[in-house]
Subunit: 508 residues, 2 copies
Amino acid sequence: MAKAPKNAISPTRAEDYPQWYQQVVRAADLAETSDVRGCMVIKPWGYALWENMQAVLDKMFKDTGHKNAYFPLFIPKSYLEKEAEHVEGFAKECAVVTHHRLEADGEGGLKPAGELEEPLVVRPTSEMIIGASFAKWVESYRDLPLLINQWANVVRWEMRTRLFLRTAEFLWQEGHTAHATEQEALDETAQMHEVYARFAEDFMAMPVIKGAKPEHERFPGAVDTLSIEAMMQDKKALQAGTSHFLGQNFSKAMGIEYQGEDKQKHHAWTTSWGVSTRLIGGLIMTHSDDDGLILPPKLAPAHVVIMPITFKADDPDAVLAYCEKLAEDLKQVTYDGQPIRVELDNRDIRGGEKTWGWVKKGVPIRLEIGQRDMADDSVFMARRDQSPKDKAGVGRQEFLDTVSDTLADIQNTLFERAKTFRAENSRVINARDKFENYFKGDKGGFALAHWNGDVEVAKKIQDDLAVTIRCIPDDGAIDDLLGGPNEPGKCIFTGEPSEKRVVWSKAY
Amino acid sequence: MAKAPKNAISPTRAEDYPQWYQQVVRAADLAETSDVRGCMVIKPWGYALWENMQAVLDKMFKDTGHKNAYFPLFIPKSYLEKEAEHVEGFAKECAVVTHHRLEADGEGGLKPAGELEEPLVVRPTSEMIIGASFAKWVESYRDLPLLINQWANVVRWEMRTRLFLRTAEFLWQEGHTAHATEQEALDETAQMHEVYARFAEDFMAMPVIKGAKPEHERFPGAVDTLSIEAMMQDKKALQAGTSHFLGQNFSKAMGIEYQGEDKQKHHAWTTSWGVSTRLIGGLIMTHSDDDGLILPPKLAPAHVVIMPITFKADDPDAVLAYCEKLAEDLKQVTYDGQPIRVELDNRDIRGGEKTWGWVKKGVPIRLEIGQRDMADDSVFMARRDQSPKDKAGVGRQEFLDTVSDTLADIQNTLFERAKTFRAENSRVINARDKFENYFKGDKGGFALAHWNGDVEVAKKIQDDLAVTIRCIPDDGAIDDLLGGPNEPGKCIFTGEPSEKRVVWSKAY
């Protein structure tokens, strides 16, 4: 068997975090860059992870009364022009369709032809195009609320891309809702914010802080943007999901009006909310180690991989049969309400290569099974949340009886570990110099400091230190990091009164 | 209660079939046209149907060893140019991205800016872009077969569009596979052809003829194209799914090479296969009647709708509670391996409007429940495959005990009905004049006639009669229509020998 390398991923996190990330993605075979500028290919292992995320989220959306629908990929230029802030936010980086065919260019190649009367933009987000439909669908207060979700691809022409975290094309869901009253729309915005936080913590095992974005960080056209913010292992923040209260901005731009019980016409109140394949980047950077990806069991494409390991003197057919029977028995066990997902890897490659392949792919439980394990009616087990060296023999039946609990324990361990890391790298800061010192160089994590709401101050800090306000936390959202409630105080930059501490950090 | 109109859909099928189709789509709230040329909006009821189709197909693909992945939306122009027939087939109608931002045009509007060095085409199909990835992924025979599927949106700039049947953007799945040998690729092509036929017949309740396309009707770049062909109620054919054997055409164009066991380099053999939201159009036109959509139970977003119908003197709360309990009990019953899907419609609208709304939406079983039904511990039931007048009281428990069988019976009735219709509208034809007569005017259905394989003859018939060869049927595929095996004979146009009869029809 191949001798295990010191670490499966090179460079390690400590050596070069961004490079480590790329190598983890590569080693786990999750995705790769394509020849098309900024577009990625999501490979089967990465896509299976996304499918599991989709399944959970889709159920959460449906359980909260939303229905899926599908709207056009293209947005007429004139639609975008209807909301000033919105177009400002998206016009600078979008894919523009100007022609509808290719024809011979006379040099053996092809050139665009059939110019469109009005250019079309490939959707960077769908407020305008879905708003146009809502305007048709809504007539009376009886048609409200309208609770719609779309699973789709979107395109934003990013100049500097990074697999999952920032790509020109990405996959996401975007919820769009319309309501008769402001309060209902606010409640919806808060509800989906909570759904995202629950998904991040209960399924991705990624602790998040719930809060509101400061004014200058809101979604273009939104009245309020709520986000969940997670800490990656390089102590930077990742915005992992946003829920926007859009007020009547988009309903006015697109004409979403209803007749109320009062027989009068009113503009509806709308919301939108989304999470994307960026979550996969967050999951990777929250849990993975220097041996590669670590998958939270609830979302893992495979919970258990079974590897028959045999040598010349062994009876490989008997070992394989033993493994196949075990796989069948495992599929009868449920974890998190579903049958256990099992991979049986009988490829004819060296045992070391096989084992390390699955370590790097992040499967929660690995079983290596040889002639002796079979003879002992046992399995040789390793947990991905522990060192690759911590392998142990377990009786076959005992393994089957406890596997579901073991997976739950791995899920829980990952969450607690991430929470501990976040706590260790968050600091209450009460003075500007300490704040600056905290972030100088590549140090710093989350700073919990008072701010009086002055946008110019926040922008100056961003320019000087590349540190931003991640959110104005919800009540109770950072009490565990503060060791108590978020009390009023004084802005550390201006000395002005501040209602509560906000979360500052470098970010993706 | 409102008096039922003679028919819920106007015009009827007999009066104006194309208009009837549009009205069925509208009345069932499945989809609508958008302001974006040729693009449709798939509304929640239509999308839920698509989700059910997706779930079944996705499982069939995974059960046959395929994995999902995701590839870029954009295809560089230079990729398309690599396969001559392929580009010829798709260049004439495609969305071309030429710029990557919008900027102020000086007149208060926006204009495209940031011209791309190389134009990008929004994928009309992904052979080239997926081929580029396959070329990277395949090195050795050990990497084969590569069995990939993608769920995606695609764009073909159709000039004359029709909801679901032909739209500029549509949703589909496209399978792409690479194999070491020609035989394996041929087997894969045949296997997916069979999967599609099974899906159409067992789930959509839509009988199909399996066969091969004649040479001039093949997918651009394919060596062989297999299709399933269904008969709509206007007796026209609908091509409902295709499976292509691509030979080495695309592997040569994109460089998909592997090192064989013989240590030599070889080009892989590839296939591709797809079905789209067009299937929804086929489902509608196979089963619906002059009262609207009829859904095959296996794919229906709701199997049963429960409508409390109460009057002033009644106790509406008690009736609602009775309905809610029934809904809960129904969800404990399984049909086709899944819990029964129930809608409880307690909207405060007139009973007639409510009932006809669900008739038009095609729900297999409707229950109207009033005070008296509750008192009798019964339900008042109507089946969508029967006349709206055929309603009957059934004991509550009897209904629960038989509902699963009733749904199975509806599924079966729809299939048998469609098969009978197809048989009644298919004819064995042995002479050219009879053939022409059969199709003159708006008559005709499927003609089963001999053809010697001459493409020019087929093209002439198409020009003269707008009739095409739908397929050269597989062995046994039309034996039920012929009343025996498909024997050799003589071409009715040329008198030349013909191996077997082929299927001729007008088509969508």
